[in-house]
Symmetry: C2
Subunit: 501 residues, 2 copies
Amino acid sequence: MEGELKPMDAEQLREYGHKMVDFIADYYKNIENFPVLSQVQPGYLRKLLPETAPAHSETLQDVLEGWQACNLDLVPFDPDIQTKILPGVTHWQSPDYFAYFPSNSSVAGFLGEMLSAGINMVGFSWITSPAATELEMIVLDWLAKALKLPDEFLSTGQGGGVIQGTASEAVLVVLLAARDKVLRRVGKDAIGKLVVYCSDQTHSALQKACQIGGIHPENFRMLKAVSCRDYALSPDALSEAVSHDLATGLIPFFFCATIGTTSSTAVDPLPALGKITKSNSMWFHVDAAYAGSACICPEFRHYIDGVEEADSFNMNAHKWFLTNFDCSALWVKDRSALIQSLSTNPEFLKNKASQGNLVVDYKDWQIPLGRRFRSLKLWMVLRLYGLEKLQAYVRNHIELARRFEEHIAQDQRFEIVTPRKFSLVCFRLRPPQSNEDYANKLNHDLLDAVNSTGKLFISHTVLSNRYILRLAVGAPLTEERHILAAWKVFQDEAATLLSKC
Amino acid sequence: MEGELKPMDAEQLREYGHKMVDFIADYYKNIENFPVLSQVQPGYLRKLLPETAPAHSETLQDVLEGWQACNLDLVPFDPDIQTKILPGVTHWQSPDYFAYFPSNSSVAGFLGEMLSAGINMVGFSWITSPAATELEMIVLDWLAKALKLPDEFLSTGQGGGVIQGTASEAVLVVLLAARDKVLRRVGKDAIGKLVVYCSDQTHSALQKACQIGGIHPENFRMLKAVSCRDYALSPDALSEAVSHDLATGLIPFFFCATIGTTSSTAVDPLPALGKITKSNSMWFHVDAAYAGSACICPEFRHYIDGVEEADSFNMNAHKWFLTNFDCSALWVKDRSALIQSLSTNPEFLKNKASQGNLVVDYKDWQIPLGRRFRSLKLWMVLRLYGLEKLQAYVRNHIELARRFEEHIAQDQRFEIVTPRKFSLVCFRLRPPQSNEDYANKLNHDLLDAVNSTGKLFISHTVLSNRYILRLAVGAPLTEERHILAAWKVFQDEAATLLSKC
């Protein structure tokens, strides 16, 4: 690239952009050929790259090198991407990816990301791109209606939706709103008395939010969720803990329930829990980061019955709703609580529309100031696919998970650990002897063995001191054949391991 | 789109992706034809869109409608994008965009975004894509070396770099690290005694970080920066404030200096300020969000002399460094302070590499858990453009700003308010009478008049109670002709306004 730098030349964008589209399309065409879990060793990349940034730009030639106009095989866009970067990628979009929870990519989501990156505006205030703010309000109203959330969560009243980066940021901002609301009443020196409640199955994001917000660690109550309730929190446990804290002069102010916990997709009973939070004037947050997507289907909507009692509700469209990462939808009933906690109003951002209270400025609903035009991708997903096909999409994954569960159940060497609700199967290899330590080691070894094949990637958890394997169906390309192939790998690796026992 | 949903079909991605590339390339070709500042009224979009999400997917035909294989004129990708969304966009990439600070897009940055969205992995831990973590470490080491940051900021020692979304998140995480470090020493009940210092020119992000972190508002010291020091903070002011607080039993623990303040690109004197923070064991953060990019040029590097004393340093590659939003580079000398404040270690994320302390898990360096593969775009920018051309890029904008400043200086109706250091010109219309209230109104009216033309977009600030116009050069497509055209608009609108006086 000789001569003057023209960093945004439309024709170069066109030329290179087309090549990148082909590279990415070819990547998806060939995605099953990669080991799902990257098999590189720590520090691999430093050995492959220079120690300093190049002083001179690389020529067009350098970047084009290795390109062939061929759609059948994966061809390198940039030799370095092909040879140095991709080996270090764990392929979340592989149909054989079953770890953690899914993180969906889709054509619509990808197009939305492209458009957002192309426009590249920074939507902190309405004026910086009215369409970004208004489309976000509208699309989150659409999604709220699809989930049959109560009207108080719509932007047309006192509430509204906002796209956060992740569920961690969602729970943090509502925790801060709740904290500041109660501190305005009791005085800020009482922060050491504020108590937060959740089950011990709640995502660690809440604990981190408490650390950030200055809630004392000893006032963070992780109440035990037990196996006999499928790891859902008992309302009695919450009620007792709150009463006990009140009796000792502490101030219960925040409770987080989960619909679809990370370890085992447990569902906390919202109606009963909501009564307790309501009668104690506590903020009630519902985290449905993963399972929220399923609740667009009438047959699964009952899992969030009771959400009427919640102050805030969150689901991650980037998990299982075909919207590329990151896109975490948060709704609140009282947006003024968020704004009171998170607004700043420096002179250099003042403008007529904001000063006149005519508009929403999403900077006051989130941690960062700047924000991307993230609603575009969610809008593209909803329009290109439509709710009925999105429902069918989620149902299909749940059906695939059910079939995998059936295979497990029919093999005496394995056991299902908790009943499957959505698309996550929690299972383990039964130990030949009924020795729990040994069972844990065996399942740990099985996880390593399976992931080391590169044929699939799963993750684990621990429930009631038992090491559990988690297989989460949810990648957009996963079909029944991938489930069958995965089951075959488990059988083979289990046989090998058990033969050594 | 009839039949089964195939949300990630490689050939559909190819077909649609190519069309989106053409749409975006055409957008840039025609970007000068849009009003820079969107001229829509609040609520415009709700009237144009349906009240609920579509139940049925839209057909390929719907989306393709309106397409023509024509590169010369802007053609709609999706009629709605063209007719409903774009009118509500404020065009940050327009060569006539001079508001706030720039937010650069580039071909390289755009390609990096595409690739990141294509791979769509979630890089919370090393294992979830080793390349994402390792490339980020390497590329931030490259950038640290280009800025000649002290070696303690490199990942090869006890420090390292991390990409945050924005400078707001950068200052928040270091504030939390500093808070928790001091609270571990003095006890968490002392949070009400912790004091934070900055100049009154510091970005509002620090105030917000204090609100989030539970620092008492009365312990947030915005020290007055005065006109005669070009709005740089006086070390004496900091020294006196710290001494006073120490005398009253408070605990000074955090100071933020700015290189290139938002209002007027003032530069706080790091060496003298750093001595004060050092002798008081305070965390010293340097915010160079905007001006950091200029410091890759030897002739501007002196502005960050004294960064050796800092504990953390931040610059936004997404502002003036051709890396699409968001990409805020943060370096710390003591990464363990960040990790101690922000780490969680739930069972479901445990893995051999993390447990063995063999790797960096960036989830413990930031607020959210999940994170995009953001280093790709910065890597693409550094490789495709190279440091020498990036230096030339920044110099060119500074030269263009200098020329605009010259025009202002030669017109008796206007005055320069503070000496220009980088690519921001702060100026105003002199009032015919020397009446400050009237001058403020006049300049407010001039801002409105200029922005209402749609020909350019600038923003404002207030310095020493004077309403000031800010023209920030920095969009990738801006050339001298755009500066001349902007100056012409100012002259014309000023003439109209003054004729009414």
